[in-house]
């Protein structure tokens, strides 16, 4: 077989794999849209769910999901950013940096149910926060920490060295350097990381299912010890009611809302990241 033939075969093989991946994505989106769209009516997004989820909308479930996601990111962001700045700006040892990076990846690969279990035992039982949105937010915060840390580190490390050196050459201390050079220049990268963290938090189900959420009985949490309804729990409970076609339709509709939420966050992150790349090439 000549080199040109091998190259053609490899090209066809790679193109085939690419089309399979795109096909999978398109199939998921299509199925979600076809199955979920009929559930959308005038105020599906803004109405309260009725009749144990078989009718009405998903307003409080969407709000609960947003509350958990946002609180988790607010709790996780300072820790992730602090560890990134320590790793990139203060830590001199390359070996220790590599070790921290590998540990972060390891944390990222940990099954999410373990986060839920350990998180519930620590926050829910030991700190006595019970089954509540606070417990769920804290578990989610720990869970998205590695995703957030990796995204933020990539953003900070992508900052051209010339900016750091320009700041150093002017006599800026490390804290001034972080405040005046690193954070402003990495702003869009940090926003991208936060959006990816939010998307990851929106996609997590297992860990919050039994630690933070409820299917019915609560609209907005009235105290720190209340659980919240979320889209994930809503979908799971409704999907189990196979005997009721209305429930299944509502579950598809809720799934489409959740997918849309993750899609919008990812799209925004991608758009902002594109801008960061364009700016760094100036």
């Amino acid at each position: 077989m000549t080199a040109i033939t091998i190259e053609k075969v490899v090209r066809v093989f790679i193109a085939g794999i690419t089309f399979i991946i795109i096909g999978l994505l398109v199939s998921i989106f299509s199925i979600m849209f076809i199955k979920g769209f009929p559930a959308f009516h005038d105020d599906f997004l803004f109405a309260e769910s009725k009749d144990f989820g078989r009718a009405g909308g998903v307003f409080y479930q969407s709000a609960g999901t947003l509350i958990l996601m946002t609180t988790a990111v607010l709790l996780s962001l300072p820790v992730a950013l602090g560890s990134v700045l320590f790793q990139t700006e203060y830590l001199a040892s390359g070996k220790f940096k590599t070790l921290l990076t590998q540990l972060t990846y390891l944390l990222n690969a940990t099954p999410t149910i373990l986060f839920g279990l350990v998180g519930y035992l620590f926050f829910g039982v030991y700190l006595d926060t019970g089954v509540s949105w606070v417990t769920g937010s804290m578990i989610l915060a720990v869970m998205i920490l590695p995703t957030l840390q990796v995204s933020l580190r990539e953003a900070v490390e992508a900052l051209p060295q010339k900016y750091r050196e320009a700041g150093m050459a002017l006599g800026l201390s490390r804290s001034s350097q972080i405040r005046r050079v690193i954070l402003p220049q990495c702003f869009y990268g940090i926003v991208t990381g936060v959006l990816l963290g939010l998307a990851r938090a929106a996609g997590e189900t297992a860990a919050i299912m039994f630690t933070a959420t409820t299917f019915s009985g609560i609209q907005f949490p009235q105290s720190f010890s209340d659980p919240v309804p979320t889209l994930q729990t809503h979908i799971l409970i409704l999907a189990q009611e196979a005997a009721h076609p209305e429930s299944i339709a509502q579950a598809w509709g809720s799934g489409l809302v959740l997918l849309g939420l993750v899609f919008i966050l990812t799209l925004m992150a991608w758009l902002i990241r594109t801008r960061v790349v364009m700016e760094s090439e100036l």
Partner: protein, 244 residues
């Protein structure tokens, strides 16, 4: 006055500057030439301790600026960098306004009152012959300036924090002849108040602007023969540059 005393700088096992001993006179321009990889940039960077954070970088010996050892543990590295400013090969302006670029360092490292910033900005922009070109567009982004203007702006930003020593690492290598001439004229005008070290690959430029030209070879510096001596003995330049 800058004094290198038996100074060695190394990356791991590779010594870039080897037991270098040399005195550089204050308020003068010293040009440093040498082949690529000879350690010219390292020589500049050690003077403002820019290599401190490189993991396998280490030094031996001393460098004294104004009689003070810059590597003494009690020496404040941030104060040192304010006194020893560095201009890089490619101008690096921040994507903020021209005015904010000029006072970028001032805001953090000096105690000059904010109301005096406009006067300071005008003073240093005049010093670098940029005031007339930018006085009506101080609020525009600095990235809209030409490369030559950006390089003069980085020099103005450095001058604003009040350095005694200016380290210039091939500052004209990315500029057109007109901008190069402007920077050369500017640097000559600054030598009465600053000690200037200028790294260049262009021998003619080195001789036209510098009071002294040093060649960096095998980790050591040697004085380049004066132009008149080179005319009398043309092989002397090659001897210094390339022969061991």
């Amino acid at each position: 006055m800058i004094q290198f005393k038996n100074f060695t700088a190394a990356f791991g096992e590779r010594e870039v500057l080897k037991s270098m001993t040399c005195n550089l006179t204050g308020n003068s321009i010293t040009a440093i030439i040498g082949v690529s990889g000879s350690g010219k940039t390292t020589l500049l960077r050690v003077l403002c301790r820019m290599n401190d954070r490189i993991e396998n970088f280490h030094i031996k010996g001393n460098i004294l600026i104004g009689g003070k050892d810059i590597f003494r543990p009690d020496n404040n590295v941030y104060s040192l960098r304010r006194k020893v400013g560095m201009i890089f090969q490619k101008p690096c302006v921040f994507p903020i306004s021209i005015f904010d670029n000029v006072v970028f360092g001032v805001r953090e490292v000096t105690k000059i009152p904010k109301k005096d910033y406009p006067d300071l900005a005008e003073k240093v922009l005049r010093e670098v012959f940029l005031w007339e070109e930018v006085k009506d567009r101080l609020n525009e982004k600095a990235t809209t300036l030409s490369q030559g203007q950006q390089q003069r702006l980085t020099l103005a930003r450095t001058l604003a924090v009040g350095p005694d020593v200016l380290l210039m690492d091939e500052p004209t290598s990315s500029l057109d002849p007109e901008s190069t001439a402007a920077i050369e004229k500017l640097v000559i005008s600054l030598k009465n108040r600053h000690t200037i070290l200028w790294v260049t690959h262009q021998h003619d430029q080195a001789h036209s602007i510098a009071d002294r030209v040093l060649v960096l070879k095998e980790g050591q510096v040697v004085d380049l023969p004066a132009p008149i001596e080179r005319q009398e003995n043309p092989s002397s330049l090659e001897d210094v540059l390339y022969n061991s």
